[in-house]
């Protein structure tokens, strides 16, 4: 057992744990002034309103065919209304005018939804830009240090960063160790240690060296740095439609074309039947039928999905990755930090025959008093809790602490009359032999049993006598078992990855409730495992931080790289977790699923809405020629005009009503597909069928009461 390793990883875990407790709720510098319900502030809302008008530009709107059609209809209706108002029989001027207004409002509402979704990202990008001020770089040319503007640095340059310097660009530390404040990128104020070699050698431009110095080899040209990437991502500047979004857009475009033809051919059918339908009424019917609800909210849903990840401090490199996360059905989870707390804790004292438990506990506690590792502390605490042994002041006892070394692989204390040592079984056995003692078979048995159960046995010896064994256990995080049960219900398999031997791994796997485990894992076996799962038709997600994780991260369908990890890992993955918290992989999957669900739910809702709109508009349209069709006016709408107008108004208002849902995502519960489907079908399918009947009727009542039509 390598105590050194455990202690540092333990510290890091403690940091993460600690961080989770005080997790900042928003991204760095997000403007958090006056809050309004829904998590938006006044400034963002007014900005979105203004943007909604800018988005009326047809060249911008062209990207959204459904809403583009609405805009064309709005233009045509406006034109005909004004023309008739000036020259023609202006009998319907007021009615046509209202349709025109509501069509424009429909477009604006859809634009507003998108602008609002983009708003948060824009605000964050602005905040990030403020941190990316022009810095000076201390470039090393040979042994000389020369000052340059950071923007002049190129890949391969070597720079020096000393205490107080802002690191001028992304790079790899080639020499030195320093504590770095990365809050500009991660929002985490606790400094992190960066050092050359190994998995903590990468630094990000824009972060600040707090102490010591480092030499950095720059790995990204200006404009391609992590910070630049992040700004682009949150701003949505390079936002491309994701595969599923494209597929859905095609379907929506198809529906739009069908309804365009339905309405266009209705004109000759009506003429044949001796009915004249005015253009504003045809435009109203068309806009009601084409899927404006989902069409107007589609891009907002996508942006909001990325945004939800961002709020959890995860940067998705593409929307594609977010979607893929929803499809994932195998999660590879690192044991340490994700499944277990990451440090082993003492849970039991098992004395050797003839030794009282108190004596063992006392010796164990004495030997651990100066041991600042979590393991050491847990022994002190256990002894206190179980046998009421108080902590003692070492200096007053006149003892010397023997720290852990790689050679002895033990730690302990020397008292005036005795030596106490604790360590792994083989180390203590050697020690006992040297003292002329031996390990009793009983103690050996206990050691083996603990190992079998997945624990770590620590033997405590006094002089040449083994007092007994301290049972250190890898403690599984509270609630993780339930989480895995939920995942199983969602159809997601969990696989624990650990460097432990198979015996230990099996024990922890059983305790944590994971489905499978990979013991004695190496980067190669990890990569092989991913390939095997993919070959069987699974989609795999994993987290990783080391350079040797890069191939696996690249191979996985969703690879979340820890921000604390190497540049190579970050480039290989398709997401970066700024908090470096591997547990979040589960949330990533949930957000991906929620994104797809929201799209499906609003599409279903949108299409189901059309039935009611037909029942409002069709009888109204043909009322003059075929009053008998009034039978279809099952909502009992007051007049043909109020019926048509009510449908158009409902169609516009439903977009703005559903904006919060689009941005928040539909309620998500970790259940099996069948239950989720039934629930969502009920809410959005049946709800989508019935809501407009009620909504249109209410609007009709209001319009009639106000005497507007």
């Amino acid at each position: 057992m390598n105590n050194h390793d455990i202690s540092t990883s333990g510290k890091q875990e403690a940091l993460v744990e600690d961080y989770n407790k005080h997790k900042p709720v928003t991204m760095p510098g997000s403007p958090g002034t006056k809050k309004v319900p829904g998590g938006f502030n006044q400034a963002m809302l007014s900005r979105a309103v203004i943007d909604a008008f800018f988005k009326l530009n047809p060249r911008v709107l062209w990207a959204n065919p459904v809403i583009f059609v609405v805009e064309i209809m709005a233009v045509l209706t406006t034109f005909f209304t004004i023309r008739d108002g000036i020259s023609g029989p202006a009998t319907n001027f007021w009615f046509d005018g209202q349709i025109a207004i509501w069509l424009w409002v429909t477009v604006l509402f859809a634009n507003f939804a998108e602008a609002l979704a983009e708003g948060r990202g824009k605000a964050q990008a602005a905040a990030l830009r403020r941190t990316r001020r022009e810095t000076r770089a201390k470039k090393l040319i040979g042994e000389q240090v020369e000052e340059f503007a950071a923007s002049q640095l190129r890949k391969g340059d070597i720079v020096l960063a000393e205490a107080g310097d802002i690191i001028p660009g992304d790079g790899e530390i080639i020499e030195g160790i320093a504590s770095v404040d990365e809050s500009a990128v991660t929002g985490e104020s606790a400094p992190v240690i960066r050092e050359s070699g190994g998995d903590r050698s990468s630094v990000t431009g824009g972060t600040r060296v707090l102490s010591d110095w480092i030499k950095i080899r720059i790995t990204a040209n200006p404009g391609e740095t992590f910070l630049d990437q992040m700004i682009h991502l949150v701003e949505g500047a390079r936002r491309q439609k994701t595969p599923n979004e494209i597929a859905l857009s095609i379907l929506l475009a198809g529906l739009t074309i069908i309804f365009l033809l339905v309405v266009a051919t209705l004109e000759p059918f009506a003429v044949y039947s001796g009915i004249l339908i005015s253009l504003p009424v045809l435009a109203a019917l068309l806009v009601c039928l084409i899927p404006t609800t989902i069409g107007g909210l589609l891009s907002a849903i996508g942006i909001a999905g990325m945004d939800r990840l961002l709020k959890r401090n995860i940067l998705a490199m593409s929307g594609r990755a977010v979607e893929a996360a929803g499809d994932v059905d195998v999660l590879l989870l690192d044991k340490t930090g994700t499944i277990t707390l990451g440090n082993r804790l003492a849970v039991e004292f098992l004395p050797a025959p003839g030794i009282s438990p108190e004596k063992l506990a006392d010796a164990a506690q004495l030997s651990s008093l100066a041991d600042e590792t979590p393991e050491g502390r847990s022994i002190v605490v256990l002894a206190k809790e179980k046998y009421n042994l108080r902590e003692r002041d070492l200096s007053s006892l006149g003892v010397t602490f023997v720290p852990f070394t790689a050679q002895s692989r033990m730690s302990g204390v020397n008292l005036s009359d005795k030596e106490i040592r604790k360590g792994a079984a083989d180390a203590i056995e050697d020690y006992l032999h040297a003292q002329g003692g031996a390990l009793s078979p009983e103690v050996k048995n206990v050691v083996e049993e603990i190992a079998k159960k997945g624990g770590t046995p620590l033997i405590v010896a006094e002089n040449a006598l083994a007092l007994g064994v301290v049972y250190l256990k890898d403690v599984v995080k509270g609630g993780i078992r339930e989480r895995f049960t939920q995942l199983r219900r969602m159809g997601i398999k969990t696989v624990m990855i650990t460097g432990d031997n198979p015996l230990t791994a099996a024990a922890i796997a059983a305790e944590a409730g994971v489905d499978e485990f990979l013991a004695e894992a190496t980067p190669e076996t990890k990569l092989k495992l991913i390939r095997e799962y993919q070959a069987k038709g699974h989609l795999v997600a994993m987290t990783g931080d080391g350079t040797n994780d890069a191939p696996a991260l690249a191979q996985a369908d969703v690879g979340v790289a820890m921000s604390s990890g190497t540049q190579a890992a970050k480039e290989a993955g398709n997401m970066v977790d700024l908090d470096s918290n591997p547990t979040k992989l589960i949330e990533v999957v949930e957000i991906g699923k929620q994104l797809l669900m929201t799209r499906g739910a609003l599409t279903t809702f949108s299409i189901a809405n059309d039935i009611a709109k037909y029942f409002a508009i069709i009888p109204a349209m043909f009322a003059a020629a075929y009053p008998q069709l009034g039978v279809l006016n099952i909502m009992g709408l007051a007049t043909p005009q109020s019926a048509i107008l009510s449908a158009v108004i409902f169609n516009a208002l439903i977009i703005v009503t559903l904006i919060p849902l689009a941005l928040r995502g539909v309620a998500y519960r970790p259940l099996g597909a069948n239950i989720i489907l039934r629930r969502n079908m009920l809410i959005y399918g049946l709800g989508g069928l019935l809501t407009p009947f009620i909504g249109i009727k209410i609007i009709d009542l209001i319009l009639t009461a106000l005497g507007i039509v």
Partner: protein
């Protein structure tokens, strides 16, 4: 509602469902290349065909090659049939000495039989020679049905194969469909029909003197051989003008039942074949369930419409069900059942004049055709049509479980969505645009017999029947004009290949994908819920597309009838 009516309808449904498994299983073995009991006779014949045509049976085709072979074959058939009609005056087996068929009618008819539509703007007994009927129309009845089967099987292969670039060999699928499925059933069926009194001869028409002493010509011909494939291949083109209302085509209650069974037996059986081929019988069952569910709904509407009759007629003292345009020997139940069967499938054979149905009763065949004839549907065409709807349903609803939609483990992405949308869009657009063109032009309107909403229904029906490759008609419309022969001719072509090509593209795309393992997080495409969703999608897409037009046609006509208004 009479108990005897219900009993007859139930008997039909029970027999149909009983045939699903045996025939479906047999077809599975045929397409899977497994041994069947007909191999002894047919294998040598098959090998002979391949040797003569130099077909490389082992050569698998990608979807584009498959589609190209299909198009070449069908258009050669079109040209041959066109020429045969033009030249029939100079060819043998023409005892009545029919002259060449008018070119626009010949074009319309050639397209009609090649596309499995069998829309007829002519009367068989006064237009077509025996040679044209036998070597032209009947041959196309076989191969157009086999084409549909081939496409359906290619689509299933596309859904089941993994990371494959091919979907089968068109020539083999075509040959095996004809030899193992259509031909044997037709031979047996034709003999049974002959035993019941369906005629089969090459004699000149008889002229007899009636009891009144008036001379009457009785048309004859090789009817039975064409009759059986007309139903079995869901073609529907009658030997005689009166189609299956003619006693020589459909003489007895037994033939009536058998012919109705022949219409739906292959489309229904294919759902079972599908389940076997994808190795999950439930996938086939869910499709069949949705079909039966929709079928019963439409049958009920038609039955209610016809038994309620016309209040305007009732007020004249002739109460009871509407018998106009129906054969008395079949009555309401068998007429309504046949009407629903023939338009659920893309058959179009009739034993009742659809134009004479009550508005509500007439709405049923019209709307069923508009839905894309996916309720059982045409031979092959019904299955690939409903699978397109399955893909759309999975895509829309499947998202709601929080995964990229997948069907049978294959992800449905933009390419499939595009093609599935096209397959629904193209026929719908064709119907709407064609009908709009007709009502907006003098050439279109002048053929209409009945003014008012019924006239609109007649036009809508003509273009729906063409685009849906059904072939039945609201015969009040005089379709044998230059305008309609050409317009409906092109409608049939677009309706046929505008669906087949997207379907083959889907097959090709899906074949290339790898499959994802199903789990509890996977959207289930089996079970009652999915059957309901599938039926719902079919209805809603159809309703949303055609509701305005239907409102001005049969719906308003029905309401006007209730209010006692006539035109």
């Amino acid at each position: 509602m009479k108990a005897i009516d219900i009993l007859q309808i139930l008997l039909y449904l029970v027999l149909l469902i009983a045939l699903v498994a045996p025939l479906g299983h047999y077809m599975f073995r045929v397409y899977n290349g497994e041994r069947t009991w007909l191999d002894r006779v047919l294998n040598p014949l098959e090998q002979l065909i391949y040797r003569l045509t130099e077909i490389e049976t082992e050569k698998e085709m990608g979807w584009r090659e498959y589609a190209a072979a299909l198009l070449v074959f069908n258009f050669l058939g079109l040209v041959l049939l066109f020429l045969l009609q033009l030249g029939q005056g100079y060819l043998p087996f023409n005892p009545q000495h029919f002259k060449m068929v008018k070119p626009d009618l010949a074009f319309n008819t050639a397209v009609s039989f090649m596309t499995n539509t069998d829309w007829q703007s002519y009367s068989g007994e006064t237009t077509m020679s025996y040679l044209t009927q036998m070597a032209g129309l009947t041959v196309q009845n076989f191969v157009s049905a086999a084409t549909g089967l081939a496409v359906a099987i290619a689509l299933i292969r596309g859904l089941t194969r993994r990371t494959s670039s091919t979907i089968g060999n068109f020539w083999v699928d075509l040959t095996r469909s004809v030899l193992w499925i259509l031909l044997p059933i037709s031979v047996v069926g034709a003999l049974v029909l002959v035993s019941q009194g369906v005629i089969q001869n090459l004699s000149p028409y008889l002229t007899v003197s009636t009891l009144k002493g008036v001379g009457q010509t009785i048309a004859l011909g090789p009817v039975a051989s064409q009759e059986i494939i007309k139903e079995l291949g869901t073609n529907g083109g009658g030997f005689f003008q009166a189609n299956s209302a003619h006693p020589f085509e459909n003489p007895t209650p037994l033939t009536n039942l058998l012919e109705m069974l022949a219409i739906l037996v292959i489309p229904a059986g294919l759902t079972f074949t599908f389940g076997r081929m994808v190795n999950d019988a439930r996938q086939g069952r869910v499709v069949l369930t949705a079909m039966i569910f929709l079928f019963v709904i439409f049958l009920a509407i038609c039955y209610i419409g016809e038994t309620a009759g016309n209040p305007l007629v009732s007020s004249l003292g002739a109460s009871g069900p509407s018998m106009e345009g129906k054969e008395v020997r079949f009555g309401v139940a068998n007429s309504v059942l046949w009407t629903t069967v023939t338009t659920a499938a893309s058959c179009g054979a009739v034993n009742t004049m659809h134009d004479s149905l009550t508005p509500l009763g007439g709405l049923v065949p019209l709307w069923q055709i508009m839905l894309g004839e996916v309720i059982f549907g045409g031979v092959g065409a019904g299955l690939y049509g409903i699978l397109v709807f399955v893909i759309l349903t999975v895509f829309i609803v499947g998202l709601m479980v929080g995964r990229t939609p997948e069907y049978l483990g294959k992800k449905i992405e933009s390419a499939e969505t595009k093609m599935a949308t096209l397959a629904v869009l193209i026929p719908a657009i064709t119907i709407l645009l064609g009908s709009a063109l007709a009502v907006a032009t003098k050439a279109g309107v002048s053929s209409v017999l009945n003014p008012g909403p019924h006239g609109l229904s007649e036009i809508l029906y003509a273009f729906s029947s063409g685009a849906g490759n059904n072939g039945s008609a609201f015969a009040g419309l005089n379709a044998n004009t230059l305008f309609y022969n050409l317009a409906i001719g092109f409608t049939m072509l677009i309706g046929r290949f505008g669906v087949i090509l997207p379907v083959l593209a889907i097959a090709g795309n899906m074949a290339g994908k790898k499959a994802v393992l199903p789990g509890t997080g996977t959207f289930q495409t089996t079970g009652v819920l999915f059957a309901g969703l599938l039926a719902g999608t079919v209805l809603i897409v159809g309703a949303l597309t055609f509701f305005p037009a239907l409102a001005l046609g049969p719906v308003v006509e029905h309401l006007l009838m209730l209010y006692g208004k006539t035109f």
